[in-house]
Symmetry: C2
Subunit: 165 residues, 2 copies
Amino acid sequence: MPPQITPFFGMESQTLYTSYGNVIFMQEITGLELSPKKVEYLKFLFKKGELVRTTDISSQLGVDPSTSTKTLGDLAESGYVDHIPYRGVRLTDVGARYAEFLINRHNILSLMLTHYGLSSEDACEEASRFESFVSRSAVDRICSSMGHPTVGVCGKIGHVSCDIS
Amino acid sequence: MPPQITPFFGMESQTLYTSYGNVIFMQEITGLELSPKKVEYLKFLFKKGELVRTTDISSQLGVDPSTSTKTLGDLAESGYVDHIPYRGVRLTDVGARYAEFLINRHNILSLMLTHYGLSSEDACEEASRFESFVSRSAVDRICSSMGHPTVGVCGKIGHVSCDIS
DNA sequence: AAATTGTTTGGATAGATACCAAATATAAGA
DNA sequence: TCTTATATTTGGTATCTATCCAAACAATTT
């Protein structure tokens, strides 16, 4: 088994540090590191806060508990969550920070869509479908171009994760 | 082997008719019927026009020829292209119409992004990443909200495929 | 302690995408 | 035409994501 990769954030919130054994890598987060479903997991976990049970997640995301166990295992391996078997999962610091970005991204993109006549519901649904493929830099630019709105149609928008302020 | 599904367009271009044996289904096209890579294939084929060789496609899309042969097989099975073995592929009528929608979608989305300060190149790249997950109805609304622009940053925008005119 | 409920593991499947090596077809050169 | 070169396809395999089911296992409740 290779040394565990453990991502963590640096002072600048758009940078992610990763340790591999005793070597440290610094990398920009692109916003494209997680698959659509994993993005859903992280957003859900953040909204719940605290220790979340497998069944909570599986029922909320409409999948079998065994599916969520597996996915949570992946997220744990990547350092986004801590998994206490038979107890539940909790976001790590990195996971929570990353989830904040994910939620902001969702909120910014859905807000953007309402500017083109989509209803809040449609905008939200639409954004959920494609958001995982929108880069952080694009989101930053959209956000800044909209004047860093603090309220979206799907919730509040924070700006800790923004490049440009 | 089940009877071949053959999609074709009706008079209203946002509707797709599908025959299965002697039964005919009418279905709205959602814009979500093709995977990202298949969208690339169709857009490329449309831009080339005429019979396109497997190697053209594979070199352009940066994949092994065997990969493009397989993907083209899928597209042929779904009725978007005609494949003449060892000769090349050509879009069917349905494929060409669908590809027009795909190209419009790309152009509308990338144009939209430039309104938020993204460069043409970035907008194009960004749109390419997420466009497959944006529904036709959303594109229609964005298009109409932008006043049905005829020129985008990635090429001309037609409106045959638009719901609202 | 036994039964119920919640969780995990193992196995299997499916779709998307990809490559390689081998077989086959077409085209070009001699 | 025969041979060689090039293009294409086939078959096999792989990875990643996502899923489910059944069985094993842990925790909780009665």
